[in-house]
Symmetry: D2
Amino acid sequence: CFSNTSVNSSFIDISGVYPPIPTAFSSNGKIDYVKLQENFNTWNTFDFAGYVVMGSNGEAVSLKEDEKLDLVRNVKKMSKPTSTIIAGLGLPTTDQTIEICNRVAEEQTAHAALIISPSFYKGQMNDLVLRKFYEDVADKSKLPIILYSVPANTTIDLSTSLVTALSQHPNIIGLKDSGGDITKISEIVYNVPKDFQVLAGSAAFMLPALLMGCVGGICALANVLGDQVCLLYKLFKDNELKKAVALQKTLISPNAMVTRRFGVPGLKAAMDLKQGLHGGRCRAPLLPLNDGDHKSLVEAFEKCGHPLSR
Amino acid sequence: CFSNTSVNSSFIDISGVYPPIPTAFSSNGKIDYVKLQENFNTWNTFDFAGYVVMGSNGEAVSLKEDEKLDLVRNVKKMSKPTSTIIAGLGLPTTDQTIEICNRVAEEQTAHAALIISPSFYKGQMNDLVLRKFYEDVADKSKLPIILYSVPANTTIDLSTSLVTALSQHPNIIGLKDSGGDITKISEIVYNVPKDFQVLAGSAAFMLPALLMGCVGGICALANVLGDQVCLLYKLFKDNELKKAVALQKTLISPNAMVTRRFGVPGLKAAMDLKQGLHGGRCRAPLLPLNDGDHKSLVEAFEKCGHPLSR
Amino acid sequence: CFSNTSVNSSFIDISGVYPPIPTAFSSNGKIDYVKLQENFNTWNTFDFAGYVVMGSNGEAVSLKEDEKLDLVRNVKKMSKPTSTIIAGLGLPTTDQTIEICNRVAEEQTAHAALIISPSFYKGQMNDLVLRKFYEDVADKSKLPIILYSVPANTTIDLSTSLVTALSQHPNIIGLKDSGGDITKISEIVYNVPKDFQVLAGSAAFMLPALLMGCVGGICALANVLGDQVCLLYKLFKDNELKKAVALQKTLISPNAMVTRRFGVPGLKAAMDLKQGLHGGRCRAPLLPLNDGDHKSLVEAFEKCGHPLSR
Amino acid sequence: CFSNTSVNSSFIDISGVYPPIPTAFSSNGKIDYVKLQENFNTWNTFDFAGYVVMGSNGEAVSLKEDEKLDLVRNVKKMSKPTSTIIAGLGLPTTDQTIEICNRVAEEQTAHAALIISPSFYKGQMNDLVLRKFYEDVADKSKLPIILYSVPANTTIDLSTSLVTALSQHPNIIGLKDSGGDITKISEIVYNVPKDFQVLAGSAAFMLPALLMGCVGGICALANVLGDQVCLLYKLFKDNELKKAVALQKTLISPNAMVTRRFGVPGLKAAMDLKQGLHGGRCRAPLLPLNDGDHKSLVEAFEKCGHPLSR
């Protein structure tokens, strides 16, 4: 039922832990590649499967197309040769999305494209429209596609039946689910083909998601506590469930500080406090944390046994 | 910080699987104890820890006070001597709730009271008001109290900080969480004292909830597939996680049919198709399933390997 | 298409302004009829078309059946002979609702029944179920029925098509719409028969609602500022639109204090500050305003030119 | 309290009716200026105060920056010399928004900028962040700024207190409110300075909004029924309220078809049926109406006395 373009099934293994890296900016508002390199010097010491660039935490919506292409080129260079690079390439229209996917494919700077659901015209984004969007992109993109459901930003939660339908497409290889509904995640894993890979979209529920069949996680918290998030994954793989449960519980409150509660400004603030990492400011309108919020963030990490201070 | 009334901490073990039993009605609209006895004849063959009577699935809001007292008396008689009886006794006011708890306590027909959050005046139900409500009830109730968070019915999701505060009260022994947010459930388990018992409010996410520290589940689906839900619990306790995961996944779609999708009419329709169980009609305004919905329900059970037909 | 019971179309004129009266309680928690009589002494001096008893502001959910019957009897006596009495008589089941309507009808203590939509089983309350509920009640109730849509309490907003269908029933004479969506209100007025009467459910939007065809309002604020709300209605009827608009604008912020913002405790606090009116406490779990909220309430009335202090 | 850049208060009169024009595309996906000119030939015959270009209905999110600058240039040429041109120029970052405002200001192709609230990072878009965003844009934009609240697309409803604060800024001249909460609109009009101009964001509630103090409307429906929407405005200005109310009611259901119900594809489908107007396709992922939806749309216009067919 798919068009007969020459897209072959292009399975790539995306299991493991990925930080969705924030974009470092210098004081003049441009991307700061020196700071980014320093972050990679730290990140490359962890057991990450790879990196997600230009996800929600990368402030993708605030980057221009040229910046995006440049950023992914640099990330490819700064990461390890073995790292899988996943680039956030969803744009408001089908054609724009296909175009940027194929530019990145040509440059061979990423292995897969993470495609956020279009969301501006919420009232029209029913399953039919979303299915056509993703199938058209997958038909024509030379990069394999990973679906991206992030209702906190889009208010659109890709439905089980939609994901199930799309999982049949040879060029759609997985899903990042940031909604965190463990029932829905379990149901999706039950319904899709075995080689369709579901990734938890947050460290907050990575362990139960792994238990139910997810193959890894794209976790904002991994930018800050890379060792701990990788350890959680390893404990699960090693069947050390008791230790995994204990660790998982200590990550929830710190995770909230860098996601739901304080967003990208929270994530960058936490990085700024951590040896070897640089956060810096976000592009406006996002503002830095005020003092009270900064204190709450510091305390949450400390209280759970993961102090930030250098 | 609690009033010095003579309430002693009254821990009772509420771990294990409980069906929140539906109330059988005869054609004249009265409670049908003959049919209920037949259901108990079946239910008592399973490894339930006990029964929840007059929960949301018991149509508690549709029962008058006399009917409630009578129903819990009969349930006490029909259940096994070892069964723990949990009675849904939350009413719109603090005083009414205390009064009915103490009448049931006097009659010794239940071991604990499940107290739904008041919800009519949603705009006023902040953490302060809810905390005072639960503390006042717990102070004066002679039955131990189990908090009940069921946002699908109340639109109120008891917050982690509220539950954490209430978990300190000597007469509040646990929480039934039907919201199903595994992150929130994990966070609560992490924050409360060790003897505070959290129960999953649905079979849909019982396994991940058990993994993260819940001690059991109150599961509508257990009314229909008692053996399977008890097996899921046993597999977890026996550390047979692979089998548990496989079983858990088959329960999600059937569970949706008797909860979120078709509600109590769905639950009763499923019971009517099962050997040894009687569902029957709900009190209006709830209507029986139409033919199309009935077919969807039957198919969901069948497709997941749990056919209903006798 | 309605059952052939002997229900005749029983049009009664419900146009004009009604306060949905709060229920006065004495310190022992019982209904305080002395205080209620004092309130009526004040209220009866205004040009109200009548009174709504046991609406959301009357804490109907916190009253027992005997209290309700007694309360409406007393309200009938305390009001003026010309007052139209509308009693909030909706209960969780169809049968209970019919029963109490007919008891009040027999006692001849109210002219019409305001029936809130059942709402506990939100997932099942589709238009079909709600239509059957209201038609069954209307078929068998000896009191004429007024539909009541109050999504702030029920999260259910009776749809235009549902209200349009129900407006054909000979024993359903009107709608109280507290949702405040002026587009929906206008659409309903456009679709229903001419003698179907729509009442604004709040003083906040009474003037635009009157403009679009509503015949009056049931306004919490009328309990406190009865003269002003009646004046607003009179200005509209007298075609003094400029003055009406100016007055309407001054009522919005005070209205928010006694509804959305602080609920029944806010309403009662405002009454306590007003000469000739008594508010008192609500039944728990509702709590009195704290000092900060009390101050906000006082200031909102003052700032808009309607000071409360005696 | 504003920065001392050389921004002078630049009041311009934005009262009256504006169509937020859709962008015509040719079959190759490019902007079709021939079709657009034909639309203007029709639109220029009506009493519009001007045009809104690149609003939500203009598919602004699907246009690239060059296309935008080109489009507004052409609109300026195609409109009447007396037309006020309002350009939708909000972008995800503060800097990008300022930059495009000033490019359009330099080219003198628009009189004011309509700035949608940034919305991707919903969790962070509190009043403080939004206030800073709008003040920074207003400080540095050489075009006067109109706030734009459109919760159906952004899920962010600019609050009364935020709009009140921003209305003090000399370079913020008004608000387009598409939320349609008449209580909020009235409250805003009551709170802002007299020369701050509020526009109804839809024909569905334009008359009650005008009554409460709005100075006009930006109405998708005006693209299709320009004469009728202008007539509604005229009837209000001429104090012909009875006729205005009657007309307003007939516009609600047709309006729903081209907004909430079927969105921009509905708007374009309606235009395609109207003599002298061309709709055409939207950029994907938006899809054309299916046959059933198309029929519903046609019927809604016909039933309300505004048939579309040529």
